[in-house]
Every structure is written in C-alpha cells, then in structure tokens.
C-alpha cells in the first residue's frame, strides 16, 4: 500500500486537543450531589443506631446499651433482642433487596420506569398471600373441626413463592428464541394485571374475615418482623452478593443493543435470564416479608444515579444498596414514632421523604 498520509490523522488529533471547558453549572451540580452523597453516607450509621435506640417503648439509652450486650433487665433485653434489632436488620435487607432489584430490572428491561411490579412479582406475591390467608382461615378453623392447620409463620414463604412463580411465568411466556425487553415488559404488565385482579376479586368475594390483616400486609410494613423472617431474606442476599459482582459487566453490556453485546462476547439470553432471576428473587423475597412497597425499587436507582454523579461508576451499585437500606430503616423509624403507638407503613414515609429530594434533583439536573 501507499505510505499513509500522516497529516490527516495527526492534524485531527491535535485539533481535538483543545479541551472544551466544563460548564460551571455542571461543576456545581456535581459538588451538590457529592455533598448529598456525603450526607447520606454519614447519616446512614446514625439512622441505624437511632432505629435501635428509639421506639414506641421509651427505653433509657444506658439500659439499651446494656441490653445490646445482654446485660439489661429482662424486659429491655427482650425488646432489643427480639423486636428492635431484628426489625432493623430486616429493614436493612429489605431495602437492599428492593433497591437492587429495581436497578437490575431497569437495566435489563432498558426501561427506567421498571420496578418489581413489572415482572408481576408483587402481584403474584399478593395473590399467594391472599390464598394463604384464606386457607389459614377457612381450611383451618371452619366450625372448630380443623381439617389441617397452616401456621401463619409461613406467610412470607407463600408470598415469596407466589412472586417467584409469577416472575417465572412471565419469563416463560416472553421467551421466544431470546428475550426481548419490550415483550418481557408487556407480558409482565399483562400477567401482573390479571393476578392483581384475581387477588382483588378474592378480597372482595371472600376476604371479609381476614380483610384487616390482608390490607395491613398490602400496605407494606415492618411491624413485628423478627429473626424468623431473615430466613427468607438471607439466602437471596448472599446469592446476590455472590452474583452481583459477576453480573456487573454483563449488565453494563446489556445496556447496549443486543447485537453489540453479543459481538462483544456476551451470551445475551443467558445473562439476561440470570440477571432477571436475581432481580426477581430479590424482589420476591422482600415482597414476601414486608409486602409490596412500591417506591423504593422504582425511585432509589434514579436517586442513586443523581447522587453518584461525578463518582466512579463502580460505586453505583453500593450507593443503590446503601440508599435503599437507609431509606427503609429511616422511614420505618419515623413511621414508628410519628403517630405512636400507631404505625405508619414504611412505604408511605419513604415516599414522603424521598420524593421531594428526588424532585429537587430532577428539577435541577433533569
């Protein structure tokens, strides 16, 4: 070949060298989000500690400290060890689950409005819980002669299984020599709508005896969540700790077109399925334990995106997890104290706290 004309490329390279100035607004923007991020990281441990020390029952700080080491009075020990501590830990895990599952689902469906409801997970869990409660009532206690009894402790298991089955059904129905994000999304909303309608039908038709516990579960609450509930959460937390580092690169590639991701060496159907499985599992376990909490999964990934502006992209997922956990525990704390001794469901406080911040960020940086 002819000697390459060297002038064209070096000329271009040098012409590109003049750095464009970064607009001042952008700089101050990343400074503000950096400050907010610092605030979040700083206040997280404080929120967790406050959630242990404050509650409906007024305990002395010193007494609580003793109780944490098992040295308090019996009453304090019980409250701390069997009520507050497990509740805070369940809250942390649930927050992490919802937020991570939202981030995963938004990435793989390539839809920023995706959350655990778009796979039908929440609706499936709701239907399963409703069926479970009905059987626990009708099969268990009709005219005193018990056919069989299902202990109420298994309610989270029922919710979790229902959510997983629904997610799996959506997955199977959308599979068509690959998974198209649009098809997955549409199938999810269709099946979700049917399951939700069935659940509402059950509630309207036969739910009267258990109406209150069903409504309480449906509004999403951490009330009386204890160590038992961790069994349903921990396996998924551990699994996600194992899978998320593996999923990081594939999920990033999945944001590209399928053809690009494939030619970069990613087996797209396999990794999309795997990411979906992890997302659905995280969501289903969390919904099973605390009920459908809508806000966290949808908004926290976006909130984290604003807060992690200007930081390394590797911090995005940890920020999502931290924000989810902190928001749930903090909202639960406020929910416990606000109308004490009544409790306000955690999802409501989370929305009241998170939405204004989110809207301000949205308004500023679009």
């Amino acid at each position: 070949m002819q000697p390459a004309p060297s002038s064209s490329m070096s000329g271009i390279a040098s012409s590109l060298k003049k750095n464009r100035k970064i607009p001042a607004q952008q700089l101050s923007g990343s400074r503000i989000s950096g400050g907010l991020l610092g605030l979040v990281i700083f206040s997280f441990p404080i929120v967790v500690i406050l959630a242990i020390f404050l509650g409906t029952v007024d305990l002395e700080t010193a007494e609580t400290l003793f109780a944490l080491f098992g040295e308090g009075s019996q009453r304090t020990d019980t409250i701390i060890a069997f009520q507050r501590l497990p509740r805070v830990i369940v809250g942390l895990l649930v927050g992490v689950h919802f937020a991570l599952s939202g981030a995963l689902l938004q990435a793989i469906t390539r839809n920023p409005l995706a959350d655990p409801t778009i796979l039908g997970v929440s609706q499936g869990a709701t239907l399963a819980v409703m069926l479970f409660l009905m059987f626990a009532v009708y099969a268990g206690n009709s005219d005193g002669s018990q056919l069989f009894t299902i202990p109420l402790e298994y309610l989270p298991l029922a919710g979790c299984l229902g959510g997983l089955i629904a997610g799996f059904a959506v997955y199977l129905l959308s599979w068509q020599s690959g998974l198209s994000p649009l098809r997955l999304t549409l199938m999810g909303i269709a099946l979700g709508a049917v399951l939700h309608a069935l659940a509402m039908g059950l509630l309207a038709g036969w739910g009267s005896t258990r109406m209150e516990s069903i409504l309480l579960w449906m509004s999403g609450s951490l009330y009386a969540r204890g160590w038992d509930h961790l069994i349903y959460l921990l396996p998924w937390t551990v699994a996600s700790l194992f899978f998320l580092p593996l999923l990081r690169r594939p999920v990033r590639l999945l944001q590209l077109e399928d053809d690009c991701a494939t030619s970069f060496g990613l087996s797209v159907p396999l990794w999309r399925s795997l990411a979906l499985a992890v997302g659905a599992g995280l969501a289903a376990s969390a919904v099973g334990v605390v009920g459908p909490v809508g806000f966290i999964g949808l908004v926290v990934p976006h909130l984290a995106r604003y807060l992690s502006r200007g930081t390394n992209q590797h911090f995005y997922i940890p920020i999502v997890a931290l924000l989810g956990a902190g928001l749930v525990v903090g909202s639960d704390l406020i929910g416990r104290l606000l109308l004490s001794p009544n409790e306000v469901p955690v999802g409501i406080i989370a929305a009241l706290l998170g939405v204004p911040v989110f809207l301000v960020l949205l308004r500023r940086y679009g």
């Binding site: 390539r110 549409l186 709508a193 309608a197 309207a204 806000f295 009241l352």
Partner: protein
C-alpha cells in the same frame, strides 16, 4: 431516550401481516361496543325486554322501566363508553410522548392527585363537603397534580424521561398523603374506599355532564393532532426536522391526555388497566397508522369498559364488583394471548 423502542404502530411487527381493512376493524369493534351497551340496558336488577327498551327509548313515559332506563342505565352506559374510550386514548398519547410502554393515564399524577384531594376533603372538612362535590374536587386535584408534574418536568418538556419520572414521583407522593390521611381517619372510611376503588355505581346525568366538557373536546382534538403524534413517535430529531415543534406539541398532547384522564377520574375514580393495556392491544391488532391506532384504542377501550361494567353489576348481583378488577379479568387474558402470539 433513543433507548426506548419507538412505540410507533409498526414496532410490534404487525405491519408484516396483512390484516382486515382497519376501517372495518374499528367500526366493527365500535359496533360491538354499542351493542353490548344496548344489551346491558336490559340486564340488571330488573330485566327489561328488548321491545320495551326500544319503546321506552323512543317515547319515555312514567313507567318503572322508563325511569330505570333513563335515570340509571342509559347515562351509566354512556359514561362507561366515554370513559373507556378516553382512558385508552389518554394512555396511547402518554405512551407515545414519553416513548415508554409502561406509561398510562396515571403517569401524570392525575389519578392519585384526584384521590388525594377527595380523601383530604372528606377527612378534614367532612361537614362542608358533600359527596356531590367529589367530582369537582377530583377534577381540581387531578389537574393540579398534573400541572405540578408538567412544571417539574421542565417548562418545555424537553425530556420524555423527565416527564415520566416526575409523574411517577408526584403519584407516589400523593398516594402517600392519601394513605396517611386514610390511616388517621379511623373507621369511617367506607364511602371513601368505595370512591377510591373506582366504579360507575349510581353515576347519572349530572356526572356525565361533569365529564363531557373534558372528554369530548379531548377526543375530538386528538384526531387533529394525529400527524404531530405520528412524527413524535419517530423521535425528537426527525420530528423536529419534519417541521414539528416538538416541545410545543409534546406539551399540548400531554395536556390533552391530562384533560381526558381528569374527566374520567372525576366521575369514575381510578380505573387501571384500560389506559395501560388497550393502546398496546390496538397496536398489536395491526393498526398501521397512528390514526387507526388511536381509533382502535378508542373503540377497544369503550368496548372493554362497557362490557366490564355490565359484568361488574350482573355477576354478583345485587352486589357490584370493582370495575377495575373485571376490566383486568376480561382484558388481561386477551392481552396475554395477543402478546404471546406476536412474532419477534
């Protein structure tokens, strides 16, 4: 937001298959909707034979059937037809302008804003506000929430994603306030829960009159906005290049969608599913142009809601079942089947 699949009528691969002429499809479905509505006139707590219906519709008199027909069933049927059509068209509009398949009429915050104001008024000013004013409150709350959404998504609606996110957040906020109010309201929330679950029970001419000025101009205007709507679904830049003032038209179409859904939510309360799923059905049933897709959404929405209303008041008579549930139970499986049969 090039990442979203452009939600043009063709994006589902429908264009490849030859379909019956869309005109016949639309008129056919509309005709079925009206037929179901007319059949529904006869069915209810008191059965009215067809001959009687025709006679009384022609010449209203003081007979019981005439009163039932004119005061209860006819306005209710008209509300169902109009509400279904409006919700579906509003959903179509919002899905097009946000280019997001998950958009629905509640995306702008209309529904939860309406619910919030009704609940607040009921709990805080119970003696001042009679249920008669609920529609006005809902209308006000819905439009106010939607205006906040529009304000937050930037004066010019430059980004469809921002519109969607602002709408979702406003909805969450309003829903949180609603639930909080309900929780502190104590046991006397029966009437409210009835309104909040949505439905057409007891709706009559006065409610129809509240709805008409929002819904009819909305439905008519949509057909004058088809071309910008079609171009917007191609993406901002092509649309701009073809002479559409993207920001202006996106705001206008959003306003149109808000009018349509506010009118419905004021009268019928929140009804899910229609606005979310019917537009997709219309696209998949082979609507090739935006005009056909809008017309098909309109007809399908009307058909779905009018049949759901019929079932909701007859299946468990004399009780009424929540209409949102029936809509999803009828429409959901059909929707599932349609998606399942789509070729990639």
């Amino acid at each position: 937001m090039s990442k979203f699949q452009a939600l043009s009528p063709n994006s589902y691969g429908a264009a490849r298959r030859q379909k019956a002429a869309p005109f016949f499809l639309v008129t056919g479905i509309a005709a079925v909707a009206v037929t179901v509505g007319l059949l529904g006139l006869g069915i209810g707590a008191q059965y009215i034979p067809v001959s009687e219906i025709i006679r009384v519709l022609w010449l209203p008199d003081d007979s019981v059937s005439s009163i039932i027909l004119w005061e209860l069933r006819l306005p209710r049927m008209l509300i169902a037809l109009l509400a279904g059509a409006s919700l579906a068209v509003a959903g179509y509009l919002l899905q097009s302008i946000t280019r997001n398949p998950l958009a629905s009429p509640s995306l702008t915050g209309v529904t939860s804003g309406a619910a919030m104001l009704v609940v607040l008024a009921f709990v805080c000013l119970p003696q001042l506000i009679s249920p008669y004013y609920y529609p006005f409150l809902a209308l006000f709350g819905g439009t106010a929430a939607a205006s906040i959404t529009l304000f937050l998504s930037g004066p010019t609606l430059s980004s469809p994603l921002r519109l969607a996110l602002a709408g979702v957040s406003v909805s969450f906020l309003a829903a949180a306030v609603t639930t909080l109010t309900l929780l502190s309201a104590g046991p006397q929330t029966g009437t409210l829960l009835f309104w909040l679950s949505g439905g057409l029970q007891g709706r009559s001419w006065s409610q129809l009159l509240i709805m008409l000025p929002w819904v009819v101009p909305g439905l008519v205007c949509v057909f004058f906005c088809l071309r910008p709507l079609a171009l917007l679904s191609l993406g901002d830049e092509p649309a701009q290049a073809m002479g559409v003032n993207v920001r202006l038209w996106r705001s206008l179409l959003a306003l149109l969608a808000i009018c349509l859904s506010a009118g419905v939510v004021a009268v019928a309360g929140p009804i899910a599913f229609v606005g979310l799923c019917v537009p997709h059905m219309a696209r998949m049933l082979g609507a090739r142009t935006t005009g056909t897709a809008v017309a098909l959404s309109l007809a399908l929405g009307a058909l779905l809601l009018v049949s759901a209303d019929l079932f909701s008041r007859t299946l468990a008579a004399p009780r009424e079942l929540p209409i949102g549930m029936i809509t999803a139970l009828i429409g959901g499986p059909i929707f599932l089947a349609i998606i399942y049969r789509q070729k990639a």
